[in-house]
Symmetry: C2
Subunit: 441 residues, 2 copies
Amino acid sequence: MARPRRLHLGAFMRPVGIHTAWWRYPGGLPDANFDIRHLARFARELEAAKFDAFFMADHLALLNMPVEALKRSATVTSFDPATLLPALAMVTERIGLIATASTTYDQPFHVARRFASLDHLSGGRAGWNVVTTSNPDAAKNFGLKHHPEHADRYDRAREFVEVVKGLWDSFADDAFLRDVESGIFFDPDRMHVLDHQGPHLSVRGPLNVARPVQGWPVIVQAGASEAGRQLAAETAEVIFGAAGSLEDGRRFAEDVRGRMAAIGRDPDHLKILPACFVVVGDTVEEARARRAHLDGLVHEASAVAALSIALGVDAGAFDPDGPLPEIPETNQSKTGRERAIALARRDNLTVRQLAQRLGGYAGLAMVGTPATIADEMQAWLEAGASDGFNIMVSDLPQGLEDFTRKVVPELQARGLFRRDYEGTTLREHLGLPRPENRFFA
Amino acid sequence: MARPRRLHLGAFMRPVGIHTAWWRYPGGLPDANFDIRHLARFARELEAAKFDAFFMADHLALLNMPVEALKRSATVTSFDPATLLPALAMVTERIGLIATASTTYDQPFHVARRFASLDHLSGGRAGWNVVTTSNPDAAKNFGLKHHPEHADRYDRAREFVEVVKGLWDSFADDAFLRDVESGIFFDPDRMHVLDHQGPHLSVRGPLNVARPVQGWPVIVQAGASEAGRQLAAETAEVIFGAAGSLEDGRRFAEDVRGRMAAIGRDPDHLKILPACFVVVGDTVEEARARRAHLDGLVHEASAVAALSIALGVDAGAFDPDGPLPEIPETNQSKTGRERAIALARRDNLTVRQLAQRLGGYAGLAMVGTPATIADEMQAWLEAGASDGFNIMVSDLPQGLEDFTRKVVPELQARGLFRRDYEGTTLREHLGLPRPENRFFA
Ligand SMILES: Cc1cc2nc3c(=O)[nH]c(=O)nc-3n(C[C@H](O)[C@H](O)[C@H](O)COP(=O)(O)O)c2cc1C
Ligand SMILES: Cc1cc2nc3c(=O)[nH]c(=O)nc-3n(C[C@H](O)[C@H](O)[C@H](O)COP(=O)(O)O)c2cc1C
């Protein structure tokens, strides 16, 4: 019998909780966003549980929500990921460190240099989550009137990733001789000047950093659109997906792997890790109660704002304790409306409960005991719907420790997750090959 | 009697040695540029000696020198400073961390966010060395055909610094309530939207980071031109000067302090720290021999290239062991030529020795025993020519430890340098006030 496939686990930190009310949960750490000691503790806890990676989201403007909701959100502010992750590199030894950086509002020379530096600093643990930036308000912080069009953003993203890889390959792995005797520090014949001239970017190079430890830091992608999937199929080594169910996940994986096959990429060179909110209890009832408690901490203003956005109508007039009334279809929000209606029906939610769910976190969730969560994860893995998950915990530090100390051992006992790191780099954790330098054998 | 004024000391790291041959010096660490363990050791050594700051230069392109010289330079590549300094923040507790960032090739939102993040991470130890970028080749790495004109660069720099300060002031110091009971994370009345629209930049804000621990990270400047001095007088809290002699230093300080007085700034709110190369010996002869040894390791190719650039003529044809011949004046290089001729005369150097000096390091140097170096520093301080120095050591680790373990105790014994940190932030080390938020009392 072949060795069973194993899960890969990332922790999606923003840099702390994803649920908008996590900071109010009993025992929470409301100031963790700006307290490096707490963040260091979380990273070490994840490393002790042998996670593949700590993953940090990024937003280049305040979240675009009404001020009544905004002022209640702990995620309104956070460190710059490219500043936080080098710090976390120094208090951990093995866990991968994935930072988000935008191809729309940054420059390839800066991005290449920063991730190369992080990769050197961390001994080969860096990953780059390539985003075109989801929040259109970012434009106004970077001298633009409008967020560029979706298609333009993805065109530039494709070119940007190519340029960054080209810059990482500026020096052959053996270019730096550092020969004290002859005084030759590097061999200029092992240096490549990129001289890129493209529709969106012109970048001469070379990068002024030695080739990264991993060759290239791991390329991660989270785009969900047609263009996003295509870019992922062409370039991503990890996808942070947003599938809402196993069946969605399976279809998504099939789609992306089909696109990879069409361009001749080995499907094993991509790991799909859907975002997954986890709420752990000693019984299923306890886990559900924990989630209900957490959702109950979402303030009415945030909840109503979230429901209104989802439905495309003002939800403030609805009876909070009644069922969701009939909602007319609007142009603005088709998928949001359908998703909200389906959620209310599936979980039998009142207007208030639905609004709080949407105002808290409403994507894929696994709510149960270590055994039921392990069952679900195993089912995804066996169905080929994912290669693991990008975990978001309900609350911190307790919810995080419940996952690392209760769910992880259950996964390990089933042979579904490593008991120890087998390599030292993020590529090795993920089972990804080290890329050849495209300019030097 | 008033307490004597004291020196402030920064260490100018690039991130390692400044002398192009330091890496060949016996006992050197040729791979230190990309080995965080060595860099962490240097930062800790400087902190144990109670230095004000570790200061990192930055270059956005390979140095523009002939390939025969370039391939012998250990400074051709280095980490991105904004990636290195957060890592060093985690292995130190008190020393200030000053990173260089360009106003020509970066965006104020990114710069404000990165330095605010570093300031939070480090507990208030961040400083920003504002440069307009000295290497014109950087343009080609950022999609531009030409480096913008000097005056344009400084215009943008002035506006850029104003915008960054405005972004740092996005939130009042007390904006973040994090009130678990009411669910209010921050008070929106204590948030300011900058809405900057200027000739070079438009930036809406607010920054998505809480106000830095120091209010603003310390603003550092190194521009030497008329425009550079004026910008420094208006905005800098530290100047890394390049005065070649005490008399030059005194004139420079007088000039800048005069400009400050003219706009009503308190001259105490600026510390002038000239760059100073130090070579330590147990006797003056030993120190001179150490320097000669180091200069002797500069390869002929690098040396001749440096001399040719300085003189504006090909120096390859000169007799290396003879004195400097008569050099016709060229348009291209007036100050470089005069400086080279004066240096050859003062130190009685052959062509080879002069070329190696220029190819190694030819700015202000203090070469002697702990006592003679302390004498020189004291003389600068007492003449009002500087408030301390930005030290560059001859070689590492030995030259660094000779300074921290021999010269620093001598300075301490004379009451010229602190025996321990008295505060926790870089501002406190430097005796600089914490700026008020310009939008909130
Ligand atoms: C798990 C996950 C994490 C994401 N993280 C970020 C992020 O940190 N910053 C960002 O701008 N967008 C982020 N996104 C949004 C995506 O980059 C993308 O904009 C979004 O999925 C919509 O897809 P599309 O742009 O292909 O239409 C994330 C998406 C997912 C599913
Ligand atoms: C001690 C010192 C450090 C400097 N560090 C940098 C640096 O890291 N990056 C850079 O582009 N320029 C650096 N410079 C150059 C200055 O920013 C400036 O370009 C130069 O002094 C010429 O002055 P000007 O631009 O006002 O003509 C440094 C200068 C000095 C004296």
